[in-house]
């Protein structure tokens, strides 16, 4: 890495990939955001190696031990234990898995739905566009939290239900952005060229249009992932999201609510983790947008 950067100034013309990388590295927000995000992802992936204890293992004799920096803290439980004597560090680390899983799965589901609709609307226009616009308007008129609450209350909460509900509710921004991006690309020469060369619609859409609007897709995806993670935390806090004993951060905050007067770290630790993750995703997303489409800056 050091060698490449050193040799770069001597190169007459850096390759496009190098240019892009430099632009990314020039974005402090992006570097910090991605850095934090990478750490959290690593923690989540390596949870079984990092977590000192089984996150589900309860010991009622060791309840609400404070974190190690308190007088009564112990290195056996660096972040203390919760109200059932489960190791808090292990639960926070495993909680990252749940949050990331939800963020990624929701984005995949809603991204697929939203992108398909947006592409169709932007490419075909006319009646298809009218129909998609109508669907988006309908969807926007439904408050996400309320619908999610109703569905979860009716069929019961579980990790996969939360993912599905959020996935089917959060495609609107994908659809809107993809629609306008496709409309722009649609009228460009290379699409016309592909059309006159006799390429099939599928080929044009997937081969010409999609790659050129992908940067927008990535930006929307990061923002939506952050919002999905927050929504899951909110639902779990209300007792209608992920169900115990799964270590979801929102659920941990909810369970710690009863202890906030006297053991505030129980609420502060998962709260900080959640805030940090959202912060990192948003920073990375913003940086990404600045690099890919600086014209989109507010």
């Amino acid at each position: 890495m050091t060698d490449t950067t050193l040799s770069l100034p001597e190169a007459p013309e850096p390759s496009p990939a190098m240019k892009l990388l430099r632009r990314f590295l020039g974005q402090k927000a992006f570097v910090i955001g991605t850095g934090i995000l990478a750490v959290i992802v690593l923690l989540a992936l390596a949870a079984p190696l990092i977590a000192p204890h089984d996150p589900y293992l309860q010991n009622l004799d060791l309840r609400t031990i404070p974190p190690v920096w308190y007088e009564k803290g112990t290195w056996a439980h660096p972040l203390g234990t919760d109200q059932l004597g489960r190791d808090y560090l292990s639960r926070v680390v495993y909680g990252a898995r749940i949050s990331l899983l939800i963020g990624v799965s929701v984005v995949v589901i809603s991204g697929l739905i939203g992108t398909a609709l947006g592409l169709a609307a932007g490419y075909f226009g006319g009646r298809v566009d009218l129909l998609v616009t109508f669907l988006v308007t309908t969807r926007l008129s439904m408050p996400v939290i309320l619908v999610a609450l109703a569905v979860v209350a009716m069929i019961g909460g579980s990790l996969w239900i939360v993912i599905l509900v959020l996935g089917f509710l959060k495609w609107d921004r994908f659809a809107v952005v993809m629609r306008s991006a496709t409309q722009q690309v649609r009228s460009l020469d290379y699409v016309a060229a592909a059309e006159s060369a006799g390429a099939s619609t599928t080929r044009i859409v997937l081969g010409e249009v999609l790659p050129n609007i992908a940067p927008h897709l990535i930006v929307v995806a990061t923002l939506e992932a952050a919002s999905a993670i927050l929504l899951e935390a909110a639902l779990s806090f209300l007792g209608l999201g992920v169900q115990p004993p799964l270590p979801s951060w929102g659920l941990m905050i909810s369970e710690a609510k009863a202890y906030m007067f006297f053991s505030f770290w129980l609420i502060a630790i998962p709260g900080t983790a959640l805030a940090l993750l959202i912060f990192a995703i948003n920073l990375a997303g913003d940086g990404l947008r600045d690099v890919i489409s600086p014209e989109g800056r507010a």
Partner: protein, 510 residues
Amino acid sequence: MGFMRKAVVAGLASTALVSGVLTGVAFAGKSDNTVRFAYDQAPESADPFFNNVRIGVIIGQHVWDTLVYRDPVTNEYKGQLATAWRWIDDRTLEFDLRQGVKFHNGEEFDADDVVYTLNFVAKPENKVVTQQNVSWIEKAEKVDKYKVRVTTKQVFPAAVEYLAGPVVIHPNEYYEKVGPKGQNDKPVGSGPYKVTNYVPGKSITLEKNPDYFRDSPKPAAKIAKVEIRFIPDRQTQMAEAISSGVDLIMGVPKDQADQLKAAPHLQVVSGETMRIVFLQMNTLEGAPSPALKDERVRKAIIHAIDRPTMVKQIVGEGSRVIDTVCFPSQFGCTNDGAVKYDYNPAKAKQLLAEAGYGNGLELDIVAYRERNQTEAVIGYLRAVGIKANLRFLQYAAMRDIIRGNKAMLTHQTWGSFSVNDVSASTPVFFAAGDDDITRDPAVAELLKKGDNSVEPQMRKEAYRKALALIAEKAYAVPMYSLPSYYVAAKDLVFKAYPDELPRFWEMSWK
């Protein structure tokens, strides 16, 4: 830590104080002889027959009177609206009524009030919410102005206990005129306190009834006014207690009560209640988890849970482990002859392996209160290879699941409406009623025999056999009795009773 805690309490108290001042809450109940009490649920109606929450029972016992009064210390029956009673035959109780008692609206108490009330609540079409408290009544008849006879549908020796508890007497002329809705809008009883202000869902104010009859076993009240506010959020209640916005809260979770002990102006009192906790296991045909049909699985579940540690660490002082599904002081409740299952995770695993679930078993558990205790149970089950998924619901929703044969494990609690007789607890869940999800005919028959026999010894024997059979077949996990923690202003004199009924007529200031 000591310093930390004090600092935290002081900080909390000051913030809560500020908010208290801002919302105009008056301080110190002693100066105006008013007890401010907060409770987390609001009754759907103030009429005791049309709600089934604890606060309804509390209001009921203060605003109304019953025919008989059970002394909570000696468990002895004393005459309240009745002065004497006797069984005329197996199914007929005769009461001599007290003379000179007046309802809050001036209406005189006599046989007509008793006859009207009992006949009204006994009629299913009047849709009394607490059916199990009144369904035993066949009819009430007036003998003369101060004498009535009550007939039970079947032989029902526990009748006096019910008439000493949930079955209050309404003023007949008023009730006939306004009905249950009117009794909710403007409640009228004969009790030691009368309702002077009631905002449904928000608060109810009781003031001392100056004309309360002297000979009542409820002693003349010293506290002039009781302000009951319905505050659903536990943290708000605690903040109010810390800032002296309320003088009494009850049902405070153990951990929070332990912490509030640090506040110098508060006292924390705990006591056992009649509320028992147990897990039901659905063994009915078509139940969603056939595994529970296997006795070995059910036994494994009992062996997996460390009840003594739960009691010590998360349930709290005043609680005790039970081995049968009833409260120990209830007539007929015994663990004599019932199999005791110790905490033995190794044995639990072995039993599961024998039953063919050595590689794990997944179950749902429904629950509606004391969620931390349910989660502890889930943790213990997980340790022996049973993955239990929590479905935490409102009581009504959980009851529908149970009655609809969709439950697997249930985390049940039952307070028996403070009735000190097994007929109010075990048969509700094991005598083939709506909430029975094991439906063993032998158990049901024994329980019914206990409910409907006259001879006390015969009743006891029938209940003993039924309870032993439930334990032997491991139809349920009897867990423990629940304590109730009260947090009160330090200068309030009060006593905690197992029936979870704070008696404001007994309270005073230091």
